[in-house]
């Protein structure tokens, strides 16, 4: 009898879970349908990255919202931690607008063109699309032999091909082929820094570890600031930063080099009728000067 009851309760729980899942699905569908009638009098829901994020710094700098130590991005904007959190917040909200790395834009988001230029690879390489930045890797002190070889690999033809594979733009167009296949290397490398650069370097590191199975590369995504600090302090071999280093930092590092180029796309919900914004409009939106969607959609 008692066992039956327990069984029943387990089945009951499972059933509740299933029903809950079914509910979510139908809700998702409803959200999609609601997209058909976009209410232009609705408020613009601005979504931004958290303070100190490399993406945020780079975006503020390139849209003219940079103001010394602090940026001018509206403090009233919803702040989300990490690229994924911004993406899912914007993908869930018909009236949201945010910015995210172009490599991270998928079908759940719509990239808005800036000054009539689409956020595509060619446009970024040509310099037509203005909101683009370098993904930098940084050496603090001298590199160990194995780390030095990994560094060479990152900037080789193979390494740069991986950059393109993961959806970003190779920083070096005619990189030399990697020649260290036969080297007998072992040891460990510690790489630390920007959450945006992380997927790129991690993919390169995985390929490298296949070539040299005795080398362990530990990649940590801790943020650009932490990446620069750890490279300077020597707690990591290589740092990653999704922004340019400031003069103080440049004075303390041995080398900072772009491993990939990434555009930052202004993104909305796929059902948003908006297609294009001027750079001024983008700055106005993220400064908090635009309140409703009809201010943007009329022109």
């Amino acid at each position: 009898m008692k066992r039956n009851l327990k069984m029943l309760s387990v089945i009951g729980l499972a059933a509740t879970t299933l029903i809950a899942c079914a509910d979510t699905e139908s809700e998702g569908a409803q959200n999609g349908e609601a997209g058909g009638d976009f209410d232009t009098s609705s408020n613009v829901h601005v979504v931004t990255r958290e303070m100190g994020s490399g993406t945020r710094d780079a975006f503020a700098e390139m849209t003219g919202l940079d103001d010394g130590d602090n940026d001018l991005i509206d403090p009233g904007a919803t702040a989300q931690q990490g690229t994924n959190a911004v993406n899912s917040t914007v993908a869930d909200d018909l009236y949201a607008i945010g910015y995210t790395s172009i490599g991270a834009v998928d079908d759940s988001l719509k990239a808005i063109s800036a000054d009539g230029v689409d956020a595509t690879e060619e446009n970024i390489l040509d310099g037509d699309y203005e909101i683009a930045r370098n993904f930098n890797v940084i050496i603090g002190e001298e590199l160990s032999e194995v780390a030095d070889d990994f560094w060479t690999f990152m900037f080789s033809e193979e390494g740069q091909a991986i950059v393109a594979e993961v959806g970003y733009i190779s920083a070096e167009t005619d990189a030399p082929a990697y020649e260290g296949h036969d080297l007998d290397l072992s040891g460990s490398i510690d790489v630390n820094g920007s959450t945006s650069v992380f997927p790129v370097v991690e993919a390169i590191a995985e390929a490298y570890m296949e070539i040299h199975p005795d080398v362990q590369i530990a990649t940590h995504s801790t943020g650009s600031g932490a990446g620069v600090t750890s490279a300077i302090e020597g707690t990591s071999d290589i740092g990653m930063a999704s922004r340019e280093l400031n003069d103080d930092e440049l004075g303390e590092v041995t080398e900072s080099r772009a491993v990939a180029v990434d555009g930052i796309a202004v993104v909305t919900h796929p059902d948003n009728p908006l297609d294009n914004l001027t750079m001024e409009q983008i700055a106005d939106i993220f400064r908090g000067d635009v309140s409703t969607w009809d201010e943007l959609l009329d022109n």
């Binding site: 008692k2 009851l5 327990k6 029943l8 309760s9 009951g12 729980l13 979510t24 809700e27 959200n31 609705s42 408020n43 829901h45 979504v47 958290e50 303070m51 100190g52 994020s53 130590d69 602090n70 403090p75 009233g76 904007a77 919803t78 702040a79 989300q80 931690q81 959190a85 899912s88 917040t89 869930d92 909200d93 949201a96 959450t195 801790t222 943020g223 650009s224 600031g225 932490a226 600090t229």
Partner: protein, 307 residues
């Protein structure tokens, strides 16, 4: 190991039987002495880590608070990379916690009364494990649930971005339920049954006996459950950061975003350096003081209960 321990206990018992003065028996037993040391060491380890945490938080946080100006830090209303005014986050934490308690506690206490007194046995066999399961769900799962279910609903019903104080309040009111329910239930159950039968014998209906005799008798236990619920709500981080909107601004209304003390730390810790980082540790100091106040309240409640 088990055998050994049992053997030791048996021996000790035998010795105690032979020589009634217990102290003497313990003194003579080396194994017992060693185990005594082991337990003492275990106790010290936990105390030691607590002391380390306190030292770390206060030595890193207090100098910054003093240097920056205590009043500016606590009552400042602007938070950015150079200005550190914590008032928005303090108010955020307090308001979200109050909101969560005012929704979660009535539901929790009533559930506890139901489970202790009215619940049919068959339903109880389902309800009790379900509440325990709720307590075991990782907070990030609660956060994800709230982000996908509560936030869109709020957006549809009230407009606004959805990531809001209301979302955080609703999420936390669910998250404190298991704490409130299990502690309140055991408080109600621990009231001597004679109170209930006495009240019924005097002619009160069972319902009246429960609400006018049992629940008041379990009052201090129920209060401590509320205090622990408050502690859970104020300390929750990962779930709240997903739904609260996290704007470092003074609270602007239920459907607008808010940032709490815990989310303030987790949002910016990765990138912070210099005084910014110290300011986040100092946020931890403020949070620590809040938790100390809550735990002291809990201790006072407990000692009252004991009386």
């Amino acid at each position: 190991m088990d055998n050994l321990r049992q053997g030791t206990i048996k021996e000790a018992k035998a010795k105690a039987n032979r020589q009634p003065p217990f102290k003497k028996a313990a003194k003579g037993n080396l194994a017992e002495k060693i185990m005594h040391g082991v337990f003492l060491l275990a106790a010290f380890t936990s105390i030691f880590s607590l002391v380390l945490i306190v030292i770390f938080i206060f030595t890193n946080g207090l100098p910054m608070m003093v240097e920056y100006g205590l009043a500016d830090f606590i009552f400042g209303q602007t938070w950015n990379q150079t200005t550190f005014g914590l008032l928005p986050m303090i108010l955020g934490s307090v308001l979200v916690t109050l909101g969560a308690v005012s929704i979660g506690v009535p539901i929790g206490v009533m559930t506890a009364i139901f489970m202790a007194e009215f619940c049919p046995k068959k339903l109880y066999a389902f309800l009790k494990p379900a509440v325990n399961l709720m307590a075991g769900i990782p907070s990030i799962v609660y956060g994800f649930f709230a982000l996908r279910i509560i936030v869109p609903q709020i957006r549809q019903l009230f407009g606004g971005p959805g990531n809001s104080m209301l979302a955080a309040i609703m999420l936390l009111s669910i998250m404190i339920l298991p704490t409130v329910i299990s502690l309140s239930e055991s408080a109600i159950r621990s009231v001597p049954r004679s109170y209930f039968s006495g009240s019924v014998a005097l002619g009160a209906s069972p319902e009246r006996s429960i609400f006018s005799v049992l629940v008041p008798a379990a009052k201090s236990g129920i209060f401590s459950s509320i205090v622990l619920g408050v502690g859970r709500a104020i300390g929750e981080t990962m779930a709240v950061v997903m739904v609260a909107g996290n704007q470092p601004l003074m609270p602007r209304g239920l459907t607008q975003g808010i940032r709490t003390l815990t989310t303030n730390i987790v949002m910016e810790m990765a990138y912070a350096s210099g005084q910014h980082r110290d300011a986040l540790v100092a946020t931890g100091v403020v949070l620590f003081i809040f938790i100390m106040i809550i735990n002291t309240t809990f201790l006072i409640m407990k000692s009252k209960e004991a009386k």
